[in-house]
């Protein structure tokens, strides 16, 4: 059987209950927090993509010198296929220009180039030559020039 969604004073509820929790949630390391009351419920979910990629980014960030963090662009695969490094190979820590081809994803015999967006420095390499990659998979982290 189905639940009925009765109208309640959502705004009032938010003021009274939700804001402090949202603050607490923001300050915490929680990835999900759900609250369930008789007449209403809510859930906070921190948008994370739990993958090797984000772990690497986090690890990289920890090792970085304690300066003001610079933005990191993630270059991701936009097709499914096998990643191949372009020569000359761009190495970790190397500055790269915008639109520089770092490699390509080979799919059904077609080379789909993987290019740098904004110019910067290669901060992370998530992929190796010959690795299979899926749609949206992070390939490189580029610390953007400021």
């Amino acid at each position: 059987m189905q639940s009925e969604n009765d109208e309640i004073d959502v705004q009032g509820e938010i003021e009274r209950l939700v804001r402090p929790l949202l603050q607490a949630f923001d300050d915490s390391d929680l990835t999900r927090l759900s609250v369930d009351e008789e007449e209403f419920g809510l859930e906070f979910v921190r948008r994370l993509r739990p993958s090797r990629a984000t772990e690497h980014v986090a690890a990289a960030a920890e090792q970085a010198p304690a300066l003001a963090p610079r933005p990191v662009d993630v270059v991701a695969a936009d097709v499914v296929g096998v990643f191949r490094v372009s020569r000359p190979q761009a190495a970790l820590g190397q500055p790269v220009a915008a639109a520089r081809e770092l490699g390509y994803v080979e799919a059904l015999g077609i080379r789909n180039p993987v290019r740098v967006g904004r110019a910067g420095t290669i901060a992370e390499v998530f992929v190796g030559d010959g690795d299979p990659v899926e749609y949206g998979q992070p390939l490189f982290g580029i610390e953007v020039d400021v």
């Binding site: 189905q2 639940s3 499914v80 296929g81 059904l108 899926e134 749609y135």
Partner: protein
């Protein structure tokens, strides 16, 4: 067949996954970014994201799907239903890449996908079709047919689908107008304005026959399903097998015709022949060249697994049974639990499922990708679950289904569950053998009852 890629989502992806695992074959799931946490991804042995949420860029993304098969080492693809299941070009691309497409040949898909070709093949095979014309070249041809067959008649587009280019004509004076507008609509929708005429059968029953054929000449005719409980949009809502109140002569003729049709098409793998039932007569409507949503009702009464049979056939093996092995047992009913509001013309809903309690016990089978906390994305089909009840007879199957629906608790989106309970306890449905006009009539009746109650 070393590994199967499942090019689908939702319950049918899980259904195929189960069949593969039952045969010990590893699986590869594909998913869109909206389905990252879906059950079909969790239950497969491997999974590849093939695109963003919109189907056109993910579940219909042929290059990414083929590429996922190639790099994962999958040597076969099961398309499920919908998406790429009846795409002859996709079947060809699979073949060109050395991948087994688990389904019929591209030629069979193509022939049955073109209504005029399909009808011609069936006529040649002696399959009864609705009295009708070839492509009408001019108004006079149309007039002559309608005068002979009698009004009402139906104008249909040869490239048609989804009601586009279709017009019912009830009187001679409406014919010219209808012909022009149907042709224009078909031209706009399909780039093909050719139309033909058929005798319009008022309120027929939807009776379909499940078939299975292998590459060794083995053919199984797995009885009929009655799918007459359809929404006003002609989408099926409740299906059952066997069809209620059909005579032995009707069945015998139907099965014989189905066998001839399979032979005429040279059909291999699972398919369904759809017919309009009109009293003791039936007319071929179309052939679906794929596994269908409602296949479990056939599985339940014949104790056969249609999807593992699909896999066997695709491996080049013979079907596991012969026609003589098969005896229908009892009665089975399927209800489609959709995230839809029947009170608002079955408008689809999306959301997060706060509570999911599924039914169980004797005679109840559940096929679903739901779990508590799962998300119903707005991008795809609104079907959440299929509940199948099997009983010794129709009455027991209905009792079990009503009990199962009453046990079902889904909170977070509106579903068709309460509405289906109303239908399944309606005396007209209980009597059996309703036509496709039943559900629209029921909706009107129901609205009147509610309006009267509200006064």
């Amino acid at each position: 067949m070393k590994k199967v890629l499942i090019a689908n989502r939702g319950e049918i992806a899980l259904r195929v996954n189960r069949a593969c695992h039952d045969l010990g074959i590893p699986t590869v799931a594909v998913f869109s970014e909206a389905d990252r946490d879906s059950l079909h991804v969790k239950r497969a042995d491997e999974a590849f994201c093939v695109g963003p949420a919109p189907s056109a860029r993910s579940y219909l993304n042929i290059p990414n799907i083929i590429s996922a098969a190639l790099i994962s080492g999958a040597d076969a693809i099961h398309p499920g239903y919908g998406f790429l299941a009846e795409n002859a070009r996709f079947a060809e691309i699979c073949r060109d890449h050395g991948i087994t497409f688990i389904g019929p040949s591209p030629d069979a898909i193509r022939a049955m996908g073109d209504k005029a070709t399909a009808k011609r093949i069936m006529v040649e095979a002696g399959v009864p079709v609705t009295p009708g014309t070839d492509i009408v070249e001019n108004l006079e041809q149309a007039r002559a047919f309608a005068a002979e067959a009698g009004y009402p008649v139906l104008i249909k587009a040869t490239a048609g689908g989804g009601g586009k280019g279709m017009r019912a004509v009830h009187a001679p004076e409406e014919l010219e107008q209808a012909l022009n507008s149907a042709s224009n609509e078909a031209q706009a929708a399909f780039g093909d304005g050719r139309v033909y005429l058929e005798k319009l059968i008022s309120n027929p029953r939807h009776i379909e026959v499940q078939v299975l054929a292998d590459t060794h000449g083995g053919i199984l005719i797995l009885g009929e399903r009655d799918c007459s409980i359809q929404k006003p949009s002609h989408q099926k809502l409740i299906e059952e097998a066997p069809g209620p109140r059909l005579s032995a002569a009707f069945r015998s003729s139907l099965y014989g015709v189905a066998r001839e049709a399979v032979k005429a098409v040279g059909y291999v793998n699972a398919g369904t022949l759809e017919f309009l039932g009109d009293g003791e007569r039936f007319y071929f409507m179309e052939m679906n060249t794929r596994i269908q949503v409602e296949h479990p009702v056939t599985e339940e009464i014949f104790s056969i697994d249609l999807v593992t049979e699909q896999l066997r056939v695709a491996r080049g093996e013979a079907l596991s049974r012969t026609q003589d092995d098969l005896h229908a047992q009892g009665h089975a009913i399927e209800v489609r639990v959709n995230a839809e509001d029947p009170a608002s013309n079955f408008a689809p809903a999306a959301g997060t499922l706060e509570t999911v309690q599924l039914p169980g016990g004797p005679g109840i089978r559940v096929d679903t990708h739901l779990y508590e906390g799962s998300v119903v994305p707005p991008y795809y089909d609104s079907m959440l679950a299929k509940i199948v009840a099997h009983g010794a007879d129709r009455q027991e199957a209905i009792s079990r289904m009503v009990r199962a629906l009453r046990e079902t608790v889904i909170e977070g989106v509106r579903t068709t569950v309460p509405f289906c309970i109303d239908v399944l306890t309606d005396p007209e449905y209980l009597a059996g053998g309703v036509d496709i006009g039943y559900l629209p009539r029921f909706l009107v009746r129901d609205a009147r009852v509610e309006a009267a109650a509200a006064r």
